[in-house]
């Protein structure tokens, strides 16, 4: 009897949530924790890494209602890489609450940028090509930005430019190897296993090290990217962000 009552009240609560889309800040916080712990590997921190899906902006392939989303989070989508998740219905609904909250965030400067000026700043004053590549220009040492406009929203781009240490994607962390003969090599981590590590070093050379020949190795905590907070004006940052937003990858001809 008790069980039935509880189940009924849960259904009522859940039903109310679906209907009203009202979640407490604590729900959103819990959902965000679950999302970051379980979903960003494929969907990215902004929920838009899977082509055609932007979880933070209501862009889904197979869901329209919150109930659809809860079902997908719990059951997965057969025939796709989306696995079933071991969540209660309530936990799944907090993830939905978090996703719905994403649409309302946006902490950008609000300045509107000029992409042509941004392009000039990217190649000139900003010297962004020292580390970043767009198409066939620039260095491969930092993240390739050829299609960054499809992967990141302007507020996230702006945040990365003014405060690069705040959030570094796992695949963009720098790695440092000190060999037994004293050479230090840093670069982007390509792969590693129990006995070896592979980097793209700062000279853009692919390097492989057997750990038997390595004294120490590990991630570099800070981003190698400098903050542009004091190097570019707010308007200039907005211009660069505007330019980055135009970078949508390379199409088939």
């Amino acid at each position: 009897m008790w069980t039935l009552t509880r189940a009924c009240s849960l259904i009522l609560i859940a039903g109310a949530m679906y209907a009203q889309h009202s979640y407490t800040p604590a729900d959103v916080e819990d959902g965000g924790r679950l999302f970051r712990g379980n979903c960003v590997g494929c969907h990215g921190t902004e929920g838009n890494l899977v082509p055609g899906i932007d979880l933070g902006h209501g862009k889904f392939k197979r869901a329209s209602t919150d109930e659809d989303l809860v079902n997908i989070i719990r059951s997965g989508i057969p025939g796709t890489p989306m696995p079933p998740g071991n969540y209660t219905e309530f936990q799944a609904s907090t993830i939905v609450a978090y996703l719905r909250s994403l649409a309302n965030t946006g902490r950008g400067s609000g300045l509107s940028g000029d992409s042509a000026r941004g392009r000039a700043l990217f190649a000139g004053k900003g010297a962004c090509e020292t580390c970043h590549r767009v198409g066939s220009e620039g260095s491969r040492v930092g993240p390739d930005l050829t299609d960054i406009g499809t992967l990141r929203k302007p507020p996230a781009l702006e945040a990365s430019i003014v405060n690069p240490d705040a959030e570094i994607l796992a695949q963009n962390r720098y790695y440092r190897v000190v060999t037994k003969d004293g050479a230090t090599v840093t670069g982007r981590l390509l792969n590693r296993d129990t006995f070896s590590v592979q980097l793209l070093d700062t000279k853009e050379q692919i390097r492989s090290f057997l750990l038997a020949n390595v004294r120490e190795h590990g991630f570099v905590e800070k981003s190698p990217m400098p903050s542009y907070k004091d190097k570019l004006t707010a308007q200039e940052v907005a211009d660069v962000v505007s330019y980055l937003g135009t970078l949508k990858g390379i199409d088939s001809k």
Binding site: R133, F195, K253
Partner: protein
């Protein structure tokens, strides 16, 4: 001594330019630690001058690492290795960069082919080409894609032809100077084949050579009526290049429909031919047709093997060719002159050549409604499996099939994107082995490696296998010959006499050509089997 060698090779590696210039590809023999083109060099001999592994120590080969592809397709690619990085493909159209030392993946580029793709014989890919810092891959939906060799990022992606009409690209592209050259498969779908060159930097198409001449062009008269429009002439194996003659050589596939030539009366040029093209313009310099008016699916898509040999007492620039039609050929590659043709397997469809090198047909040996037994069978005396030429032994080595097929003639009509071939020949051995059990006898068919003297066409030795072989061949400067077969064995033979020196059971069908490379002074042998890549080297002394 070992340490000194390793250090020396490190110094040597460090002095190499980071990019693979075309000059480096031309002089590939100077850096035997690398494998810069599909066939190991532009002459396509599949001969390595690495000499650490030799007959006296080959028994100490052991597995170093395995790359298990995420694909159940046949693994037909030959890997490239450039300064310690291996580039290969994972079917259908992923490019994978692998640390050649450890087997760790460095990056993967994945292309999802259009659902319109309809390659005849598996969603396969045979490898990539490199120039500068760019990797090139053709796709089964007939795109050509350029990737950054350091990161796998796309530089350009062009559509070469219509996948829904049956066009596909399955072979590794060939780089000549600043161009990337590819041809299109689709000979079973009524395509009109072509070879195209693309600017390596931009992906812009520079020239296109149609393997079937259009109206007004020489050779057009060898096709009855409109049959030229759907006549096949596919290209699905990588060509070769002679820098001194500035000619690139490509084999052309079967005319379509494959097994019924009634509506395409004539020789059907340039099907089943080798064409010699100017790589700057795509203009035809000469051709030689191996199988005029073919009704047996005898694609001439073998890799043209170029060598400067002593031909009947004097030096000559030749091309050696073991053809699907069962005959071994020597051709003057300057002029296209036929020098020699001789069966390397049992052949019953022809019985000699006229003075120009045209085969003389045996009357009655054509497909009929009742069926006609033809030797070799439909898969040919050999097929696309890369042969090898060793300048040391002077012998040409052929992966050979000894068997026959019964060809039945049936009517066939063209419809875009549909099979346009005729009745599938019946075979005493399965065309593609359907299971893991072989209950065939040698009388029904078998495979062999055959060593042929190019001056006479005579067989010097053979190594017989119970089952047929789709493996290419690698020879080395220590007179080793590496080859495999459908049973999964990977062998090292003595290239001088065919004696078995070492074998390993890889447990899958070997449908690729072995290659050799070195990292830090250590020689490796790589071969794909099943859907995985196996890499061997000598056991380290402990």
């Amino acid at each position: 001594m070992k340490i000194v060698c390793a250090l020396l090779s490190l110094v040597f590696a460090a002095s190499l330019p980071a990019q693979v210039s075309f000059d480096r590809i031309l002089a590939a023999g100077k850096e035997p630690q690398n494998w810069l083109t599909y066939s190991g060099s532009l002459m396509s001999q599949r001969y390595s001058t690495l000499d650490q592994i030799k007959p006296s120590n080959v028994k100490d080969l052991e597995l170093q690492w395995v790359f298990q592809s995420r694909s159940l397709e046949k693994f037909e690619a030959t890997a490239l290795v450039v300064d310690g990085v291996m580039y290969t493909t994972q079917a259908p159209n992923d490019v994978v960069a692998i640390d050649a030392l450890t087997g760790r993946v460095l990056w993967i580029y994945s292309w999802t082919p259009s659902r319109d793709a309809r390659p005849c014989c598996g969603r396969v890919n045979r490898g990539v080409a490199i120039l500068g810092n760019t990797i090139f891959m053709g796709t089964i939906d007939a795109h050509l894609i350029a990737l950054d060799a350091k990161t796998g990022k796309v530089i350009w992606n062009v559509k070469v032809a219509e996948a829904k009409s049956g066009y596909a690209i399955t072979h590794a592209p060939l780089v000549v100077k600043d161009k990337v050259i590819v041809g299109t498969a689709g000979g079973e779908y009524g395509i009109r084949g072509f070879i195209s060159a693309f600017d390596a930097a931009s992906g812009k198409e520079d020239w296109r050579f149609h393997t079937i001449p259009g109206p007004g062009e020489p050779g057009h008269e060898t096709w009855a009526g409109d049959s030229w429009k759907t006549g096949g002439g596919s290209v699905w194996m990588t060509g070769s290049y002679d820098p001194a003659l500035n000619l690139t050589y490509w084999g052309v596939g079967n005319p379509g429909p494959d097994w019924n030539g009634d509506k395409r009366a004539g020789d059907n040029l340039y099907s089943d031919s080798v064409v010699a093209l100017d790589p700057d313009t795509g203009k035809l310099k000469w051709y030689y047709q191996f199988s005029p008016h073919d009704e047996f699916d005898f694609d001439a898509v073998q890799v043209p093997v170029l060598a400067d040999i002593n031909w009947k007492g004097s030096p000559r620039k030749v091309m050696m060719w073991a053809n699907r039609n069962g005959l071994f050929y020597v051709i003057d590659r300057t002029t296209g002159q036929f020098l020699l043709g001789k069966p390397f397997v049992e052949v019953n469809w022809m019985n000699g050549f006229d003075e120009k090198g045209r085969p003389m047909r045996v009357p009655g040996k054509v497909p009929t409604p009742e069926g006609t037994l033809i030797k070799p069978g439909n898969q040919g005396g050999t097929n696309w499996y890369s042969p090898s030429f060793s300048p040391r032994t002077g012998l040409f080595y052929i992966p050979s099939w000894e068997y026959s097929s019964i060809y039945v003639k049936q009517p066939v009509e063209y419809a875009e994107g549909r099979l346009f071939a005729g009745a599938m020949p019946q075979s005493p051995v399965p065309m593609v082995r359907s299971g893991q059990i072989n209950q065939k006898t040698d009388q029904e068919g078998y495979g062999a490696v055959r060593a042929v003297d190019p001056n006479t066409g005579d067989r010097k030795w053979e190594f017989k296998m119970a089952d047929v072989t789709d493996s290419g061949i690698l020879t080395t400067a220590t007179d080793l010959l590496f080859v495999g077969g459908r049973e999964g064995y990977f062998f090292a033979l003595d290239a001088k006499n065919g004696n078995l020196l070492w074998k390993a059971n890889t447990g899958g069908q070997i449908s690729s050509g072995p290659m050799s490379y070195a990292v830090n002074g250590k020689q490796y042998i790589a071969v794909a089997s099943g859907s995985s890549l196996f890499v061997y080297a000598l056991r380290d002394a402990h």
